[in-house]
Symmetry: D2
Subunit: 350 residues, 4 copies
């Protein structure tokens, strides 16, 4: 039973449905030589630490490989936010909506406080308003302790370095620390055409999740932390969360390959380029995009009927409420894939 070529599935559900970048798989295989002390005492983990300091231009950056973005976000926040604190974030943020309470678990009761904001971005006004509504120092009220930005947002939009800098300055002015959920960090860096440090280090971010899994890694994301006190805590917090991999050399090997010679940015460029090509094509078909895609994700309102036809054509994607569909490109999405998606969309939408 063979499907006709027209119905071969094309993957647009999520970049975490993609496979492993060959360079990273090769790095794992290359690390499989001899024995190495467990839990991060190995040579590759040391190399990773140096590389992170170099790439993000921070002499005291620490890096903690962990197995998922949920772990990266919630462990970083637990070291930045006291148990009675709150984390200000967009009301759509993954840390509120999609992590099953991991953030309150690891922080010992910290509260995620959602702020509104167009296109899933928080504005300085929204932060200021949250500050104004806070009874500072009153123990009845969870005290704002961290500002967490998601970049790219779950809507595919990207903060610019200057937008981030304005928000972190405001946060720091009230003693908050700053966190960035970078599940798709490379896609944001590439979108902004800036050095990685411009978006993070030089924009006032204290700790961030370095997403790698959605962009070609096998089994690891990482926390990067510039805040010495939080880094000291993370040594213990990551361990007692069970996230210190025993054979950490194989996690570090992936991340070393990822950050070496800009592989991470090249992989993300492919995904962003595919998305740019796709969105241009879909606009030409008069599809109603909810926003201009800035990274590797788009949302479009196509209605229930066209959605069914798109599904029937073999496209794999997520449906959102209100007849909206989400398409995500990964480093594995080829120009041929995009062309084929456009062919099928033309039929489905006509």
């Amino acid at each position: 039973m063979t499907a006709s070529p027209a119905f071969e599935p094309i993957e647009l559900r999520s970049d975490n449905a993609a496979g492993v970048a060959p360079e990273m798989l090769a790095a794992v295989a290359a690390a499989n030589e001899g024995s190495a002390i467990a839990y991060g005492g190995d040579r590759l983990t040391a190399a990773l630490r140096e590389l992170v300091r170099d790439v993000f231009e921070h002499a005291h950056a620490e890096v903690f490989p962990v197995v998922s973005g949920t772990a990266a976000n919630s462990l970083a926040l637990s070291a930045l936010c006291p148990p009675w604190g709150s984390v200000l974030c967009h009301e759509s943020a993954h840390i509120i909506v999609n992590e099953g309470g991991a953030t309150s678990l690891f922080s010992g009761g910290g509260v995620m406080r959602g702020l509104p904001g167009d296109q899933y971005r928080i504005s300085p006004q929204a932060v200021q308003q949250a500050f104004d509504r806070t009874n500072w120092g009153d123990p009845h009220h969870s005290q704002p302790a961290v500002l967490s930005l998601t970049c790219p947002t779950d809507f595919g939009t990207v903060y610019s370095p200057s937008q981030i800098a304005e928000l972190t300055a405001l946060a720091h002015s009230r003693g908050l620390r700053t966190h960035l959920d970078g599940a798709r960090l490379a896609n944001a860096v590439v979108a902004q055409r800036c050095p990685p440090a411009a978006l993070l280090t030089h924009s006032g971010i204290d700790a961030f999740s370095l997403g790698a899994i959605k962009n070609g890694a096998l089994s690891t994301d990482a926390i990067v932390c510039f805040q010495p006190e939080a880094s000291e805590q993370l040594v213990y917090r990551v361990k007692r969360a069970g996230h210190v991999a025993s054979k950490m050399r194989f996690q570090s090997a992936q991340l070393v390959a990822y950050l070496t010679d800009g592989l991470w940015l090249r992989l993300a460029q492919r995904a962003n380029d595919a998305m740019a090509q796709l969105s241009t094509g879909l606009r030409a078909l008069d599809m109603e995009l909810l926003a201009e895609p800035e990274a590797n994700m788009l949302f479009a309102r196509v209605g229930a009927e066209a959605t069914e036809r798109l599904k029937a054509s073999g496209l794999l994607f997520y449906e959102m409420p209100g007849g909206v569909v989400r398409f995500v490109c990964s480093f594995q999405t080829t120009a041929d894939d995009v062309a084929e998606v456009l062919r099928r969309a033309e039929v489905a939408l006509s």
Copy 2:
């Protein structure tokens, strides 16, 4: 600067310093084809579930891949023990001594209660005594809720199926659930020359850690759970601990390869055989072994001077208090390695 062959390091520190078994690395590479839905909805994770049910002879077993033994133990215990309960275990158990409080974190405050016992094994008498000393139903006192056995123990000794059955029957008689820390489970199964289910399923174990990392895996251990209510909890508990790998197919691929056609037992057999050969040889050199090694680990009292000579000879091992050394063999320890260790030991001990 080349070391003379006599001083080539030989790895005896821990089996988690070993590399990845080629069969498991190949399975990862083979899984890297096409796209697959994330978080365990993939084909390989489904296959793993079936395989676990088959190997452990339990129709409703559930399996949860996680990145470390710490995660496997502490998450399983969190689903078996209420926050006000206590876990009875040997006073040397990893869950007390070596997991940095992970067990209290994930259980929301559960207490590990250490019991004494020869050769790191708990006796039914010690369990009965703990029961006798408990004020059952008194909320001032943490209520015994789980009996956790470690097999092989951190001393390298192994419980027999009948020993386990006697302990679990006692635990169940007072309403406790039963857990087994199987960080080196394959080594125990091989040592007991029994089917895996004899040691676990048929001996009254409710949930266990299926160690794979110390025996050739790349990045995953797993929880196996026979207790439906606990399994239901684990769906949520594992997620909010950040241990649901996004690209789970690559974790499942390792475990499928591991459990297929007895690979896990063949790998463990190599480690146990190497240890048997090594301990026989060391006894012949009059080394004082603290116990007869039953799996892949031995402890010997050699004194401070001989310890220094052993280190100087290039052997890599852990030193314990009191002039005791610990040697661990892995699936990668060859007969040649053992012969070379014995040669150097002969010199060092003479």
Copy 3:
């Protein structure tokens, strides 16, 4: 330096600024005779249990005296909501806004999820919408586990028994449990002119906070629980929160006096009557009330200038954003107090 009578302070800030009802203080003094076993094994605590079962018409109700409403709410919720669950409540609820994260602490990470609703009341539509937006069974999403109503609300409005019954039926239909924050429960019962059981037991509430402190008690509120499994948990949960008073007979003595012969309702009637008299008088002065006060609290928009004049006249009250003031009457607010407030308000508002 004596203040002129016109400037004697009159207390309208909160009913928790009031003193202790003489009947309850007398009950404490009467309990101070002989010795009594600690931690609730005493005669008065036994009497309290029987009284609660009688007043709330539930043969298996359990009662747990605790020192504050925060403890009552957050401990009850911790027994009703698993650590990965969420509690649906009004976005203004005390359990979100005013308890400093107590709810996530005691539940081990449970998430409070605020719903919108006019006059601080949740509508069945809002609950249904929350259900519709939930990915049931998806561990990425906190699963709705409890519906918590506040009655009277923090806006002074009251749910009717039939409104509560409709909401709890909806909640139970999806497997949620139901909780009522009754910090001012007596005021609600009196406002509804119904038997206490009509508002709670017969309306499908599973557990509630029995507020006593704001209505004349010295040092205790209580949890009342109809749900046997939750009650069993609360024995341990209350203890390990440090809320099992050692000399519990003195806490129980207060609550026994409170619930005996309707003292609690008579005290609340005084507060509600004073508020009715006050709101009638303020309306006659053309003050803009934000809602018809249904219990012992009103909110009025008076503007910044009149607020200052009201303060200068010696009235003690809380200011809210937007030129709104909050007035609360307690069981100690007399008819003379109300008359005097109205006299001063007439001057301040003219």
Copy 4:
């Protein structure tokens, strides 16, 4: 039905079975005048703060009234010990044995580590040994963070100021903080015939539980904290544990009366004196005391038969394993009570 005088019960079970000291009940009644802002903003709570600073001779001491010793201990420890830390204490300490896991709950997973020690006292050698066995800085191992002493111990023995000073110096030398469980603090101060500050402030204690309930209070113990960073945390930690009493003036009133003009020491002196008289008498009857009672508690081995006769004579006391009985005197134990106990004991033991 009247019991013969010989069988009137005499209370020796626990000092928490005693009633309220009249002076403290009068203070509560006196506080019941007018209204007062809730949650500690009142005049009496301010007075309490000053009094604590005066009595304990520390200009920056902070005091937090809470409803139980369990709350006082576990909240104080939560502010002194990070979630990955351990608290070194005697293996018999209440915080391990009798608080149902409150310490791990409030600390977010901290581990209580029991040390051996004669007569329930920890020796410097035991602390040093614990230090020697610690892998400092290794996240696999809970890091010692607090030394907690119980004084008087649960065995009725008392540390001297110099013993405490030696232990706290050792603890501070390794960066630990120091805590004292003073559930019966007044009895220890009286036993040592020293100023309160000599036992605490000048002996290097960072925070302690100020027990009041067992010595005449109605409904409150307190945390006293000399450590500014911990005090800052406690503002939030106490609130979100539900231990900030709404009408705190009535809790503070008790403690103000308690600490004013040495009432607390006079009450404890009565209990210690009664115990001294009782133990002298019992020795004269050849009863085998397990230790010389230093405060208000004794343990004696009397065997099963004599225990039954003592119970039959109307004495109320606790039985321990091995035919041991525990007798506790309170501030309410009179000389007549003691004489009557001795009369009955003479009969029972003969």
